[in-house]
């Protein structure tokens, strides 16, 4: 279970203003919101990449910010993070990039064959042909393939929680659908808790158990996809309408 308790964060201006949110174990949760409302900031606080000015985050009851270094290290071992632009290490090939997803202590203890087997399996799970991509460096991969390698790196350590930061941004509709299916499938197969930050409302609603919407640093809505669609909140409706218009523009289907 992930628990956000009164999380505040400001940079030059307030980004998060007291977010309280609880995501249950095994849940696939989507977080929506306009750009700049602090979705990615909230996601990064989950594993201590950004420290809130006030409040705390708990993972299975362990405080991320008040539990000490050991607790933070344990939290990071439990969580797989999929970055918006994959954040692959430029100087490593795909095999070494995915290898980095295995916790350090485990990596030292495991026989090389077992490490290779896990990397191979992770790449297969994200629908990549390991024999084709393992030796390539990130600059030799397409955007969609880079995202998949980033996902492979996040799941190879057998995490209990997966955090997805805009996993479909910058992808064409076909790749977007494929990644959304992948999120849903991985959440089922790996039995992980997933928190997906996304702009893609349709995709998010289709795969999620529950959704929430952030607006100006506060939680505007939290409920099931059906409740979200039926919400009479003006801001939620305006966000849905705007997102639909943007999606139509992006796919060129607008008249």
């Amino acid at each position: 279970m992930i628990r956000y308790r009164n999380v505040h964060k400001a940079f030059d201006y307030p980004v998060l203003r007291g977010v309280d949110l609880r995501i249950e174990t095994g849940e696939l949760f989507a977080l929506f919101g306009p750009s700049g409302t602090g979705k990615s900031v909230l996601l990064k606080t989950t594993i201590g990449l950004i420290t809130p000015d006030r409040g705390d985050v708990e993972l299975d009851g362990v405080s991320v910010f008040f539990g000490g270094k050991k607790a933070l290290a344990d939290v990071r071992c439990k969580v797989g993070y999929v970055f918006q632009n994959a954040a692959l290490f430029d100087s490593f090939n795909v095999y070494d990039n995915v290898c980095m997803g295995i916790p350090e202590a485990e990596l030292k203890a495991l026989p090389r064959v077992e490490v290779a087997r896990r990397v191979w399996r992770a790449l297969e799970l994200v629908n990549l042909d390991p024999s084709q991509v393992m030796g390539k460096i990130p600059s030799e991969l397409s955007g969609g393939m880079r995202k998949r390698v980033g996902i492979g790196r996040a799941i190879v350590g057998r995490p209990e929680v997966l955090l997805w930061d805009e996993p479909t941004t910058g992808l064409d509709p076909i790749n977007t659908a494929a990644i959304e299916q992948l999120i849903s499938r991985l959440s089922d197969e790996l039995k992980v808790t997933s928190l997906v930050v996304t702009h893609d409302i349709d995709g998010g609603l289709a795969i999620s158990d529950r959704v929430a919407m952030l607006d100006q640093g506060t939680l505007r809505f939290c409920g099931t996809p059906d409740e979200f669609r039926a919400s009479e909140d003006q801001k939620v409706q305006a966000f849905i309408d705007r997102a639909a218009a943007e999606a139509a523009l992006a796919t060129g289907s607008q008249l």
Binding site: K44, I47, G48, L49, A73, R76, C77, V79, Y81, F83, Q84, N85, A87, L88, F89, D90, M100, G101, P103, E104, R153, G157
Partner: protein, 271 residues
């Protein structure tokens, strides 16, 4: 219908503006000093705990050291040649020619060798490190290291700083040797000073301490350049523009630091 009424902030006056500017600069300076101190301490801890990968240090040693040898040979030679020519022009007929040997050796070993090599490394190595780490910050690769439970200081900062501390004294030793040799050749060609006379002059005022002085300078510069470049690189904000801006700032910061440290050495070690 409400009307928009623009408001103009009251000018706080030149004195307040001056104090505000001075306060901001002081705050930034303290922030950098604290950041550098903290980074240095983390690197020391990582090194003492043997958390630094030896292969990474060797790789950085190759990039910073071996690949810098050609440019160090060129700058070292030119430093010796220029000193020899300038000295020859100013001193012939005023002093015995063999004094030129002392002048070239002392200038190259005490000043030109360490400082010119350090300045060259600021451009060749320091700028590269800042740009490389800055790019890793803006592309979230540093965040990725942390999210995977890896410490960027152990993996990225420490190998660069350790390699810098080892590499610079070696490069300065090369620059010193090449500079003296080139200066000797130049003295022979320009003022007709024979090699034996040149070496006689060189030995006349030579102290072993001078070499230690040169290498100590190199050691300190070798720590300062990668430390500042890593510190600046990890502080990068924004996209490509941020990387460019931070790299420029880092080069200025490193150059100034080298010159200030250089000015602090004579009162500390030569008196």
């Amino acid at each position: 219908m409400s009307t928009f009424t623009p408001t103009v902030a009251r000018d706080p006056g030149p004195l307040t503006r001056w104090f505000a500017g001075a306060g901001r600069r002081a705050s930034v300076t303290v922030e950098h000093a604290g950041g550098l101190g903290s980074l240095f301490w983390k690197i020391v801890v990582a090194t003492v705990r043997l958390r630094v990968n030896f292969r990474d240090v060797v790789e950085q040693f190759f990039i910073m050291g071996i690949q810098s040898v050609p440019i160090v040979l060129v700058t070292g030679s030119l430093a010796g040649i220029v000193t020899s020519q300038q000295g020859g022009y100013q001193m012939t007929s005023a002093m015995p020619n063999y004094i030129l040997g002392s002048l070239v050796v002392q200038t190259v070993v005490l000043e030109m060798g360490p400082v010119l090599t350090a300045i060259v490394l600021v451009g060749r190595v320091g700028a590269r490190i800042t740009a490389e780490l800055g790019t890793m910050v803006v592309s979230e690769q540093i965040d990725a290291y942390q999210s995977l439970g890896r410490d960027p200081v152990e993996l990225l900062a420490a190998p660069r700083v350790i390699a810098g501390v080892i590499v610079l004294p070696l490069l300065v030793a090369i620059a010193d040797a090449v500079g003296i040799f080139a200066g000797m050749l130049a003295a022979n060609l320009t003022v007709g000073l024979g090699n034996e006379a040149f070496l006689y002059g060189a030995r006349l005022f030579w102290h072993s301490w001078d070499l230690l002085y040169s290498l100590t300078k190199a050691l300190v510069f070798g720590l300062a350049i990668p430390l500042i470049s890593v510190h600046m690189g990890l502080r990068t904000k924004g996209g490509a523009e941020g990387v460019g801006l931070t790299t420029t700032q880092a080069v200025m910061f490193m150059t100034l630091t080298i010159l200030i440290l250089d000015a602090m050495f004579p009162p500390l070690m030569l008196n």
